[in-house]
């Protein structure tokens, strides 16, 4: 039996379950770097010219494909390999994710040195993207099994790491590029190599300390519910059955629209605050605003998901979607009032709920479909993220350009988009309110659903 086999990772009776979250965090803090990839965008346009772009240097639109490919392959690999992840367990999955993500960086380093963009597409975009998807879902079902009493808090902790990884990634990238910078090179290739090795080691550390609970294990003092109550089931649904249920697609829409709305603000945060409050907000202040949004995005992942353990998942999504819709409608008002502080306060709450939407969804899936294949089901649901990743920025950017062409300025550039986002959240709210317990014909012991 190999070291990476699931059976080798079954914890003994004296294992402390709080030793598993660091394994999940080691992986999520690493792959969260993807949110900070934009730090490399400008230096990558100066590989030949070093101080400024020269003929033959890569253009920004061609470089934007690296991030898009990575996010696309995140969703694709999470959806395709979910069942494999459930079968082989967290250690082998985390190790594979480390090989893909670390390896993707190292391959990309060669792409920079040989100035071949397709190698970076392949390295960071395709292979690294698969590492992102595998790494993202690798700890989810194990966390839910270690913390059946607090599944929201447990998954919130790991997914918070994904938000925190952006802070580490952006600061580490800047430090490394500063260190490796030379008169003939901006130091991107060397930074990719160093980051590939660092993230590989960090993720392998996570894989080595990962343990799964024995089948009959439960926390001391915890009595599992004997019967299903409300939306929380004691049964299990396989991934292939789950995505044939209306509940899966209702949650798909909820996640997609919640992410679309949040990502629209996140992506345009800096120009938005400067254009809505002209003369009041400098570029440096806008940078501080983006940092504040990232902090609330990260904190929201833990706080809201933990709160959902007490309030129930359906209720907390009602809060995200209803309060979110109201706050989106308030954004134009903050602009008309000229109150930047009010605008910042509204945006940080919205971004905290954007993070909360991400981190609460695994626990919601666990409630509805049981723990057996929750990681795989979560993987399939992440395709909603891939769609939202395109939809959010496209909506904000194109509507803004259209309005600008018609002579709009300031608040007018964003107000219709904000009302549109509020509308999307209301649709999400209706979907969430429509979620009912899964029909028992989908349960595992009655594997084949009736038509």
């Amino acid at each position: 039996m190999g070291f990476f086999e699931r059976q080798q990772t079954v914890a003994g009776p004296d294992y402390n379950r709080w030793l598993f979250p660091p394994a999940a965090l080691a992986v999520h803090l690493s792959i969260g770097q993807v949110y900070a990839f934009s730090v490399f965008k400008l230096p990558l346009t100066k590989i030949i010219g070093v101080t400024k772009s020269a003929p033959g240097d890569w253009s920004q639109p061609s470089l934007a494909w690296i991030f898009s490919l990575a996010i696309f392959f995140l969703g694709l690999s999470a959806a395709v390999f979910g069942r494999w992840v459930e079968r082989v367990g967290p250690r082998k999955t985390m190790f594979t994710a480390a090989l893909c993500f670390g390896g993707g960086f190292i391959i990309s380093a060669f792409g920079v040195w040989w100035h071949q963009l397709w190698i970076i597409y392949l390295g960071y975009g395709v292979i690294g993207g698969c590492g992102l998807g595998l790494g993202y879902i690798s700890p989810v079902s194990t966390l839910v099994k270690w913390f059946p009493d607090r599944p929201g808090m447990a998954t919130g902790m790991a997914i918070m790491g994904f938000g925190g990884g952006a802070f580490i990634g952006s600061n580490l990238s800047l430090l490394l590029m500063e260190h490796f910078k030379a008169p003939t090179s901006p130091g991107v290739g060397e930074s990719f190599l160093a980051m590939g090795i660092t993230y590989f080691c960090s993720m392998v550390f996570g894989s080595l300390i990962a343990r799964v609970p024995a089948d009959d294990w439960k926390p001391a003092g915890y009595t599992p519910p004997a019967h299903s109550h409300g939306l929380v089931t004691t049964e299990n649904v396989t991934v292939d059955c789950a995505w044939r249920t209306p509940q899966f697609w209702l949650l798909w829409v909820v996640l997609c629209f919640n992410v679309t709305a949040g990502i629209g603000i996140l992506e345009q945060a800096s120009p938005m605050i400067q254009e809505m409050f002209p003369g009041k907000i400098t570029a440096a202040a806008a940078g501080g605003f983006v940092a504040l949004l990232s902090l609330f995005n990260m904190a929201g992942r833990f706080v809201w998901a933990s709160t959902s353990d007490f309030t129930g998942r359906k209720f907390i999504y009602v809060v995200y979607l209803l309060l979110g819709a109201v706050l989106y409608c308030l954004i134009p008002t903050t602009g008309h009032m000229g109150s930047a502080l009010f605008f910042v306060a509204v945006c940080v709450v919205i971004l905290s709920m954007y993070g909360g939407g991400f981190s609460t969804i695994p626990a919601y899936l666990k409630d509805l479909f049981g723990t057996m294949q929750v990681g795989a089901i979560h993987g399939r649901l992440l395709t909603a993220w891939s769609v939202a990743g395109v939809l959010g920025p496209v909506l904000v950017n194109y509507i803004r350009e259209y309005l600008k062409g018609r002579g709009a300025s300031g608040v007018g550039l964003y107000a219709p988009t904000m009302y549109l986002m509020a509308g999307l959240l209301v649709i999400g709210l209706i979907c969430n309110l429509s979620v009912r317990p899964v029909n028992e014909r989908y349960y595992f012991h009655r594997q084949n659903p009736k038509p």
Binding site: L25, A26, L29, G161, G164, G165, I168, A285, G288, V344
Partner: protein
């Protein structure tokens, strides 16, 4: 029932594992917090 040595080992692991992930996270948050004063100037 875990022996005292096993208990001590578990606690050592607990502290080391959380420090390994906690220190980089704290550094990342701290450096980000340092950007905030610009917003409130």
């Amino acid at each position: 029932m875990a022996t005292p040595i096993q208990c001590a080992g578990n606690w050592c692991k607990f502290v080391i594992y959380w420090l390994i992930v906690g220190i980089p996270l704290a550094w990342g948050i701290w450096t980000t917090l340092m950007k905030l004063p610009a917003l409130f100037k």
